[in-house]
């Protein structure tokens, strides 16, 4: 039986949860005081990889780019799913925009060996560009399916079938392997057989145990290891120019409210009229 080889892209982001996140006085993020955690959307990419591993066997490799302490992010990811973890880390990779990041990650994936599937989560919680995944697919020259809510693989036909959200509709898309998948926040793994659920339990326990001893399955690669063109990565390889960052306007501290009697139809009509006015500008 052919088994699936999957790569999952993961990223560390500031922990935006209440009580964890810290802001400076000018409302910008205080990176130093905010812990870095696994990007929440990446958990769904990992869940997708785990689902495929349960159903088809094979291996799941985790790839991330970031400073050396991102090993903790990879460990967090491995607690969900992962056989090996690769951190692409080098000072020369710093300052990268999404395209330069895509070039770096694609180089990492090529060095590992091209997999059947690359899976990424929907947007990172910090940059929120949603570009790195598609750009990586472009660099790898993989077909890409985004907003995936469920997927299945036909190993014999070398096909992936995915259901993706498109507005209010669900599209069903078929693509040849190898393929790039971006999971939607609404992704759900589906297990209808007891055998698979038992395997899920066992793989879950195994991966948690592996994550606690991540060193034996962890590799860190720099620019020299990847053999990537230095002009294509880091700040040098980044065509994006950030012109200006504007803080989100703060809402007025005091607002006036007009109390309306919900039982009075006339007053409710007036409310509706006012809303229409405001919306139309």
């Amino acid at each position: 039986m052919h088994s699936m080889n999957t790569v999952v892209l993961v990223k560390g982001v500031p922990d935006f949860r209440e009580g964890k996140v810290s802001f400076k006085e000018d409302n910008t993020l205080n990176r130093g005081a905010t812990p870095t955690v696994l990007n929440p959307n990446d958990r769904l990419a990992l869940a997708a990889a785990l689902e495929l591993k349960v159903k088809h066997g094979g291996s799941v490799r985790l790839v991330s780019m970031g400073p050396p302490n991102y090993k903790t992010i990879l460990r967090e990811a491995m607690e969900v799913c992962g056989d090996e973890a690769y951190l692409l880390s080098d000072r020369m990779m710093g300052g990268a925009d999404t395209l330069a990041t895509a070039e770096t990650i694609a180089a990492g994936i090529r060095k590992i060996g091209l997999p059947d599937l690359v899976i990424a989560g929907f947007k990172s919680a910090d940059g929120e560009t949603g570009q790195t995944g598609p750009q990586t697919a472009w660099v790898l020259d993989f077909p890409i399916i985004t907003h995936v809510v469920s997927l299945e693989v036909d190993e014999k036909a070398r096909l992936v079938r995915a259901r993706r959200t498109a507005g209010d509709d669900i599209e069903e898309i078929e693509a040849p392997l190898p393929c790039f998948i971006v999971t939607d926040p609404g992704f759900t793994a589906v297990f209808r057989s007891a055998t698979n659920r038992l395997r899920l339990l066992r793989l879950g326990e195994e991966t948690v145990a592996r994550a606690s001893k991540i060193d034996s399955v962890f590799k860190m690669w720099g620019v020299a290891d990847l053999g990537v063109d230095p002009k294509k990565i880091g700040l040098k390889g980044s065509p994006t120019i950030v012109n200006k960052v504007e803080p989100i306007p703060v809402a007025a501290k005091e607002r006036t409210a007009q109390v309306v009697d919900a039982k009075d139809a006339g007053q409710l009509d007036e409310v509706a009229r006012r809303i229409v006015q405001l919306v139309r500008g």
Partner: protein
């Protein structure tokens, strides 16, 4: 094609887990399906896990080391019955009754206990390609033609199996859908409500005069439960108390009473206040239907390759105040597993049902549940009971040395207890008369315990609600058909608007007002009471949903 396991066990309580462990350690591929989020999530017990000295098939048969490894509370070494009449109490030692064929009597809390048991079973079952799956609700047998060949669940595709063991408790979906038993009348059930109350260990050991791993049990009967047939119990745990009341369900409905109010009455009694030193710190409220084994136990707890064990098969023995359930379930589970193993070895799988039946009949489970029929029938005669009552409850008789000796012997006799009829005399008349005639007046300088109102009890429970998918539907909302549920449901009260059942005024088109019963399933503790006392379509919630006990 449906996937196939050699054995499927439905329900990860003691009976199902015992069956699964016995199967797994004999090399069977066994899948256990549990609808809770973890084994124990749906389970509560009145208290004691007995070991039977007249059977090898106890928990120690599976785990010789269980007394060292399992999360047990205390080995109940002394047992006292408190006969209450108003503020007078006469305590009688009934340890002899408790000790009858008893090798151990551990008080347990079901959440930690079942979790431990489940962990052990899962590890063993894994070795043979099986294991425990939680959050899966098996709702019916899978039938091929007229034969049971597996199970149908809410969450998974149908699963085939050579044997299906229905261990899904008192409210068993499988036993009903397989046609082995309906809900039956109220007379077939007890209803129990319980609180677990925290108590600092040193205080507990000092108040109850226990130490080390040993503990004590206390029973309460008499006139403080409004004439309901049943009583109260208290078991010491490590650093908690299990306190509850158990009544015949038909007795609760006849008196139109709220079960939790009687529990409160016990907790607020000055005798209880003195017993606990005025310390009362409620942690968890729970409720459960308990099958009355002598009416509810299945004579033939099997159909095709489906074998029912534990509460699902009504295997509960009340020998007077001694309540045995978990040990019967464990024994039945082991026997069901052995019946399958033997049938498989003999290549006569179709034979496993009758084989299980005969194993049961030859064990104490069979004799406890079905033995002494004639004596029981005789003991239930009204006239002799009336005469006995008239004689025994005379204060002069009770006060006499001779009378006290007789009564002490009566209440300590397992033989008598196991044939005693379910009448007012046994549950109420005698204890009240004893308390009144020779009890000591009890006063307490300490303030009575503050019990929680039902709303707070519900609020303290953990639920994963399934909004929009109600597992219980009221078929007939008239007060005549379903009104009893407002009183009898352990998480409903006419005083509360947050419980499951309440009455609502409805006005029809002609402006005529009538009252009808409305149901909110969110606070449901899945006891099954309303399936019996009200006109409902009753199902267990789907996997992972509903109440989730923390202590049990």
């Amino acid at each position: 094609m449906a996937e196939k396991f050699e054995a499927v066990v439905v329900g990860a309580g003691p009976a199902g887990l015992a069956a699964a462990y016995e199967l797994a350690r004999n090399g069977t591929q066994v899948l256990v399906l549990e609808r809770g989020k973890f084994p124990g999530a749906k389970n509560v017990t009145g208290g004691i896990l007995y070991g039977q000295s007249n059977s090898p098939f106890n928990l120690d048969y599976l785990f010789p080391d269980f007394e060292k490894k399992a999360p047990l509370e205390r080995d109940i070494k002394s047992y006292v019955m408190h006969n209450i009449a108003g503020d007078k109490v006469k305590s009688m030692d009934i340890t002899r009754l408790h000790d009858h064929k008893t090798s151990y009597a551990w008080s347990v809390l079901r959440v930690p206990f079942d979790k431990w048991f489940g962990e052990r079973v899962h590890r063993e079952a894994e070795k043979h390609g099986g294991g425990i799956l939680t959050n899966v609700r098996a709702k019916a047998p899978l039938e091929d033609g007229n034969r049971i060949v597996g199970v149908v669940t809410d969450e998974l595709d149908p699963i085939k199996a050579d044997v299906v063991i229905a261990a899904d408790g008192a409210t068993s979906d499988l036993v009903r859908t397989a046609g082995l038993r309906g809900w039956g009348p109220e007379e077939h059930w007890f209803q129990g409500v319980k609180v677990v109350a925290r108590m600092p260990r040193t205080l507990l050991e000092q108040r109850f005069n226990v130490s080390g791993r040993e503990g004590s049990g206390h029973l309460f009967a008499g006139d403080l439960f409004g004439g309901c047939r049943g009583g109260g119990f208290l078991y010491t745990n490590k650093d908690t108390l299990s306190v509850g009341t158990v009544f015949h369900l038909d007795s609760i409905t006849a008196k139109k009473t709220e079960p939790h109010k009687y529990l409160d009455r016990l907790i607020k009694h000055p005798f209880f206040t003195n017993l606990t030193g005025g310390h009362y710190d409620e942690a968890e409220y729970s409720a459960k239907l308990i099958p009355d084994g002598k009416k509810n136990a299945l004579r033939f707890p099997y159909r095709d390759n489906l074998l029912a064990v534990g509460d699902a098969a009504g295997q509960m023995k009340a020998a007077g105040p001694i309540i045995k359930g978990m040990n019967l379930g464990i024994t039945a589970g082991i026997l069901a597993a052995q019946a399958f193993l033997t049938a498989k070895r003999q290549r006569r799988l179709h034979h496993m049902g009758p084989l299980y039946g005969s194993y049961l009949a030859n064990s104490y489970v069979g004799s406890e549940l079905f033995g002494k029929r004639l004596l029981r029938w005789l003991a239930g005669w009204r006239l002799p009971n009336k005469m006995l009552e008239g004689f025994v409850t005379r204060p002069r008789f009770i006060r006499s040395k001779f009378g006290q000796k007789r009564i002490q012997r009566m209440v300590s006799s397992y033989r008598l207890a196991s044939i005693a009829p379910d009448n007012d005399f046994v549950y109420v008349g005698l204890p009240t008369a004893v308390g009144r005639a020779i009890g000591d007046r009890v006063e307490s300088e300490l303030p009575a315990a503050k019990t929680r109102p039902i709303d707070d009890r519900i609020a303290a429970l953990t639920y994963d609600t399934d909004i929009g998918r109600e597992h219980i539907v009221v078929r007939d909302a008239s007060v005549a058909a379903s009104g009893l549920a407002v009183m009898t449901c352990p998480v409903s009260s006419p005083d509360s608007s947050r419980g499951c059942y309440r009455l609502e005024k409805a006005r029809d088109a002609s402006g005529r007002e009538s009252r009808r019963v409305v149901l909110d399933t969110q606070p449901c503790v899945e006891c099954g009471t309303c399936a019996i006392v009200a006109a409902t379509d009753w199902n267990t919630p789907r996997g992972g949903k509903g109440v989730q006990y923390q202590l049990g």
